[in-house]
């Protein structure tokens, strides 16, 4: 797989809510097949950044490019959103639809794919996340980990160019985090381009190609996991990682 083609480019992205500047000029890019993890203290604009990328939140200025297409000036944003998967912290599953229908609905209603074929694709993705037997269950009948895996299958079914994960394990009980992370790990290994906001340092260290440390609306530091954990350049990064290792223990 070519690691050279740029899938996503973010340039000098800014966003303020009222007086509060949440993003103060964020730039980075993602090459095909890369997994990048964004870490940083709460309230530093990580989730806002993700929501800006598929324009669920409209940025104030800056540009976002998905391959050759400029997202920020797109006439048909709905078309672009089909190509950007989004996995939510609170899952965002449609409560009135079964797991299968949750995965199918984007295919049948948005992509206008014929029902039988959509079902085939959906079943394939549910199988990929290990939920083929839960296909006909409703979200409220699933565990948190299962819900999030349905969320991932739903994103995958649209065959996106990139998937954005907004703290995908933060709402889960500790014993359920593993099943979601392992699905994500397999996904990363299969060559999916993934941008992940998470506090899971184990995942960041072992799966990501690069870690982005964000604070107060800026990217403070970005480097490979080895570099970031062994030899952080910025004192703030050091402090943040130290706090985390104090909290969770460093292994």
């Amino acid at each position: 797989m070519s690691k050279e083609r740029v899938v996503l480019r973010v340039e000098n992205l800014k966003k303020a809510f009222g007086d509060k500047e949440v993003l103060k000029g964020v730039s980075f890019d993602m090459k095909e097949g890369e997994t990048k993890v964004i870490i940083g203290p709460s309230g530093t604009g990580k989730s806002t950044l993700l929501s800006c990328i598929n324009m669920l939140v409209t940025p104030d200025s800056g540009q976002i490019w998905l391959e050759e297409e400029e997202v920020t000036s797109a006439k048909n944003i709905n078309k672009i959103r089909q190509e950007i998967g989004f996995v939510f912290q609170d899952f965002g599953l449609f409560n009135h639809l079964t797991a299968l229908k949750n995965v199918m609905v984007g295919l049948t209603k948005v992509k206008k794919i014929e029902k039988d074929f959509a079902k085939e694709i959906a079943m394939k993705e549910l199988t990929r996340v290990g939920l083929e037997r839960e296909a006909n269950m409703y979200p409220a009948q699933l565990s948190g980990g299962q819900k999030q895996r349905v969320g991932i299958a739903r994103a995958l079914a649209m065959s996106p160019k990139i998937i954005l994960f907004d703290e995908p394990t933060s709402a889960l009980d500790p014993e359920l985090i593993g099943e979601v992370l392992s699905v994500m790990k397999n996904l990363a290994e299969s060559g999916m381009t993934m941008l992940v906001v998470t506090h899971e340092m184990g995942f960041a260290r072992t799966v990501s190609d690069e870690i982005i440390f964000m604070e107060h609306g800026h990217i403070v530091e970005q480097s490979s996991p080895e570099e970031m954990f062994k030899n952080p350049k910025n004192p703030r990064t050091k402090e943040f990682l130290f706090k985390l290792s104090e909290l969770y223990g460093s292994e």
Partner: protein, 226 residues
């Protein structure tokens, strides 16, 4: 002749009249509730998702209708419009009045129901590339309709009973028939008691129907919400 016998005699003598009145009552209720439902859906969506103009217009209509007595609305339709060249039959005037009135109440119940649905549903729908309308129709409304059933049952019952006001403009519904019967035999207590029981039975019947519907469309795993 004791009281029970008197009531029984009224039922035996006048059941075709009661039935005729009940037929009109049901017809008015069902037509008005269906038209009202369409009005309600449009007004609720306009209020929640509309731009300033649609939101404003919908809000104004709802406030005006809710803020004025139903009887006044019926009088305006029935007595107020003919001088303007619009002659409505009592039946038509009543149905239009009830449909608009009920539509505004249904809109408010539905609005509450829509707004009770978590924002993440809309966000998730849009993230898949759905348009706002697709998200509303495919994701939000199917859930909102389920949640509104208990409140909506209430509105249906109100409407069914409020159709009794139509006798004042001369629609031949159940209450009008009762007045007619009572004016002949002067057995007001007995006649209205029969009418009350008829309303009660019909209301209980529909309450049961809607509670069956509510269970039928319930989302598995969310039963506790009820």
């Amino acid at each position: 002749m004791n009281e029970v016998d008197r009531i029984w005699k009224i039922v035996v003598n006048y059941w075709p009249k009661f039935l005729e009145g009940l037929g009109v009552t049901l017809e008015m209720t069902l037509i008005a509730v269906v038209i009202g439902f369409i009005i309600g859906v449009i007004l609720a969506i306009a209020r929640v998702y509309g731009n300033k103009l649609f939101h404003g217009v919908a809000t104004a209509i709802i406030e005006i209708i809710r803020g004025t007595p139903l009887l006044v609305q019926l009088f305006i339709l029935y007595y107020g419009l003919p001088p303007l060249g619009m002659n409505l039959s009592p039946f038509a005037a009543a149905i239009i009045g009830f449909a608009i009135n009920s539509g505004c109440y249904q809109a408010e119940y539905l609005r509450g129901s829509i707004q009770s649905i978590s924002g993440n549903q809309m966000k998730a729908a849009r993230s898949l590339g759905m348009t706002k309308w697709q998200a509303i129709l495919q994701i939000i409304m199917p859930q909102a309709f389920r949640r509104v059933i208990p409140a909506w049952t209430n509105e249906f019952i109100y409407l069914l009973k409020y159709t009794s006001l139509a006798y004042i403009v001369g629609a031949p519904e159940l209450m009008a028939q009762a007045k007619f019967i009572a004016s002949r035999n002067f057995q007001f207590f007995e006649v209205y008691l029969v009418v009350a029981v008829i309303y009660l039975v019909v209301v209980l019947f529909f309450t049961k129907i809607f509670s069956i519907l509510e269970k039928k469309v319930e989302i598995p795993g969310l039963e506790w919400v009820r």
